[in-house]
């Protein structure tokens, strides 16, 4: 499965590696199915800060998978902010290399995983498919790799090292119609 479907950026590849680690003790029979589910866009992901909720419909079956990632430490966030300019539009493979050269590990770590299916293993086909689906989303928008680990979303903004990235846009979802016109509606 070495192709450029998933993991065509080094940031996305971190997520592919969660599904298919380099060192495996035994072959993972579920991988081809998980891969195919993700490739056919059957995974719906909703992301909120460091948690991911993935819904997979296959035929009459539906499953919901939760992933929660371990947030980066404040020290790591500060160290990253020194290497990646806040105004960088896209995280590039070069940024990833720079972090590695400074010994900063940003491989995603699970704090918790859970799936509604009946499989006895944590690494069920849904969890594996979710990893592929997230690899795709991270490939598309690499900042997501860090944001999923609380880089700009976890409340530990890199304030010591200069300005936080100034927001260009405000999501409409965060606006309250009651205060749209000012403190009091009118």
């Amino acid at each position: 499965m070495a192709d450029n479907e998933f993991g065509y950026t080094s940031w996305g590849m971190d997520w592919v590696r969660l599904a298919q680690p380099l060192k495996v003790s035994k072959p993972e029979p579920l991988l081809p199915r998980a891969y195919s589910i993700a490739r056919n866009n059957l995974v719906q992901t909703e992301i909120e800060n460091t948690t991911v909720r993935a819904t997979i419909h296959r035929g009459s079956e539906a499953s919901v998978t939760y992933l929660e990632l371990t947030p980066l430490s404040a020290t790591t966030i500060t160290a990253i902010a020194q290497l990646i300019p806040a105004e960088a539009l896209t995280l590039t493979d070069e940024h990833r290399v720079a972090l590695a050269e400074h010994g900063i590990s940003i491989k995603p770590q699970f704090a918790r995983t859970d799936c509604s299916c009946r499989a006895r293993t944590e690494r069920c086909v849904h969890m594996l498919a979710t990893c592929y689906a997230l690899a795709r989303r991270v490939d598309e928008t690499p900042w997501l790799a860090l944001d999923l680990q609380g880089y700009r979303t976890g409340g530990t903004a890199p304030s010591e090292t200069g300005e936080a990235r100034p927001a260009r846009w405000t999501s409409i979802d965060t606006l309250d119609p009651a205060t749209y016109f000012g403190v009091t509606a009118g």
Binding site: E87, L89, T92, D139, P166, W169, L175, F181, G182, G186
Partner: protein, 588 residues
């Protein structure tokens, strides 16, 4: 009760004023200004959603003197902002949505953009000799802001919106930062020098066509053509430039060409690409431009393809929105229809095109011969002068019209090449275009070029057609699937016709009497035309055509529709004075 609200539109640097009647958008406020429907994020009963809101548009400069009835918090906050304060802005004040309709401009950014643009307009009032339209002031501020944050920027405003004046305004603000470089199509080097002299007298433009690189202290703008960049790249690469501007940057769309490699290798603190092509229609070209001006952000073509090009080609709508989000911080592309409220119904774009070496040689030879033979006197003087003028004007159009060598058309006439670029661009942008010329054979060359290079069949409306043929051409052109270009003889088509499917008009050669050109332009700009008409004139620099164009500026009162009145004026001059007029002025 109805309250009035003000939403700032950053890309246009205008306020949209609208009212809210307590539960829905109300009628436009009763104030003077341009009414327009604008997409804004407003409450819709359940939440907030993007909707088309009837507004009156007001320039920030006029906002403080405005007496707005029942101003709401947003209107008051912008008043405070213009008075130099830093008010808290309610969402209504910055409710301009993004492309996907999922977000509005952040409050802090809206405030900063307004105050920066107002400040910049004030600074430029003394140094830039041009009346900036609000969106142009914003474009200049945007160039400063974007190159400061990312090192480069793509200004992709539609043709006619004044990218050149925005680039000059930008360079003026950085004059002291060091020497600057402008690279443009080779026929437009003189035009750039001329425009910089005209708009930015604080800058020192130098046209450069190779040879020893001139001294370039801070404030110098070296202007050069793409062929010179290709041939003399190393000389330009040996210097650190404060800014480099690539005009018509779509020329560099193929990153593997020599010229694109030379362009990327020039070290500059700020890199700006100007293009009038619709960038989102050509994703590979877009990548090449982004890689040229912000290479650290758009490094890997394969990733760009995988991330955007492939899904967009496969029809993915989310990928289109992702692309817009990804490029929005470094690409500013405004269309005429979006800023129409700030535009007059007709905009003029006068391009002075350089002669090629071949044109210069033949032009000079014709005059040498005329000088030997003399013009004579009396009626003979008039006839001979008319013949020479006609030949000179033909050289300006295309040297092959005199030499007879018409095998290869490109690269031989400055005007022809510039016109060819504009037509290629307009065909691509789906902007039907009228081209007027006085000469039948010039018209035929244009038709031939369109067939050979653009693969399109272009009709030619000229005096040799009968009435039925004329009617057919007009009807065809006006139909929805009519031809993208129509060539017309100025004399045959100057009056009467309605050709409003075109909003772009090119005058390939110049006429003594501006009223004749204006009448021809009005084939497009007349009742039924709902868009802004762009009128482009092409003039060969340093030649008799400049003299003719100069008579326009003096509002010559000629009413004659033939060459004779203009020729009569010249025939009255003595030979010395006459040849002084006809000889090429040594310019850049």
């Amino acid at each position: 009760m109805s309250t009035a609200h003000a939403t700032y539109l950053p890309d246009r640097h205008l306020f949209a004023l609208w009212t809210w009647d307590g539960s829905a958008v109300g009628q436009v406020p009763k104030i003077p200004g341009d009414p327009e429907t604008v997409a804004l994020a407003v409450p819709d009963g359940r939440g907030i959603a993007v909707s088309e809101v009837p507004c009156v548009l007001i320039e920030p400069e006029r906002y403080l003197e405005l007496e707005l009835p029942e101003p709401g918090a947003s209107a008051l906050a912008w008043r405070a902002a213009l008075e130099g304060e830093h008010p808290a802005l309610p969402p209504a004040a910055h409710a301009t949505p993004n492309a996907g309709g999922t977000a509005i401009v952040a409050a802090a950014r809206a405030l900063r953009v307004l105050q920066d643009t107002v400040a910049l307009s004030g600074e430029l009032r003394a140094s830039l000799k041009a009346d900036l339209r609000p969106y142009q002031a914003r474009g200049i501020a945007w160039l400063h802001e974007t190159t400061a944050a990312h090192g480069g920027a793509v200004l992709a405003d539609e043709m006619g919106l004044g990218k050149t004046v925005q680039a000059i305004g930008y360079l003026l603000g950085r004059a002291e930062a060091g020497p600057h470089l402008v690279v443009c199509p080779t026929s437009l080097v003189g035009n750039w020098v001329h425009e910089i002299e005209r708009f930015g007298p604080g800058l020192r433009p130098i046209g450069w066509r190779g040879g020893k690189l001139p001294d370039a202290p801070a404030g110098t703008v070296l202007v050069t053509g793409y062929p010179t960049l290709r041939g003399h790249g190393p000389a330009l690469q040996g210097k650190q430039w404060a800014s480099i501007v690539f005009d018509e940057a779509q020329v560099l769309k193929n990153p593997r060409t020599q010229v694109a490699k030379a362009a990327r290798a020039i070290p500059a603190d700020a890199r700006v690409a100007l293009t009038g092509t619709p960038v989102e229609n050509h994703l590979e070209e877009l990548w090449a431009l982004l890689n040229l001006v912000v290479p650290h952000e758009f490094t890997h073509k394969t990733q760009f393809r995988r991330r955007f090009v492939r899904p967009i080609t496969e029809g993915s709508a989310p990928a289109v929105l992702r692309l817009r989000d990804a490029i929005e911080p470094v690409v500013l592309a405004r269309r005429k229809s979006e800023v129409a409220g700030s535009l007059p119904p007709k905009i003029h774009c006068d391009l002075v095109c350089d002669l090629t070496r071949e044109q210069e040689r033949i032009y000079d030879q014709l005059l040498d011969r005329a000088e030997e033979e003399g013009f004579g006197s009396g009626g003979q003087r008039h006839t001979r002068l008319l013949a020479v003028l006609t030949e000179l004007k033909q050289v300006c159009n295309h040297p092959g019209l005199i030499s007879g060598d018409l095998d290869e058309l490109s690269g031989r006439s400055g005007k022809f090449d510039v016109c060819a670029d504009i037509l290629a661009n307009n065909v691509d942008a789906d902007a039907p275009t009228l081209v007027f010329t006085q000469y039948r054979r010039t018209g035929e060359l244009l038709v031939r070029h369109c067939a050979e290079e653009l693969g399109i069949t272009v009709p030619f409306f000229h005096g040799g057609l009968n009435q039925a043929q004329r009617t057919e051409i007009v009807t065809d052109f006006q139909s929805a699937d009519g031809p993208p270009v129509l060539v017309l003889s100025l004399r045959a088509a100057g009056t009467g016709l309605t050709l409003t499917r075109a909003a772009d008009v090119i005058h390939f050669d110049r006429w003594w009497n501006p009223a004749v050109e204006a009448q021809a332009s009005d084939r497009a700009h007349r009742i039924g035309q709902t868009r802004t008409v762009t009128v482009t004139t092409l003039t060969s620099g340093t030649t008799i055509e400049e003299h003719i164009a100069g008579m326009h500026d003096r509002k010559s009162a000629l009413t004659d529709l033939t060459d004779s009145a203009g020729v009569a004026g010249l025939a009255r001059l003595d030979d010395d004075r006459l040849f002084e007029l006809l000889r090429r002025k040594r310019g850049n």
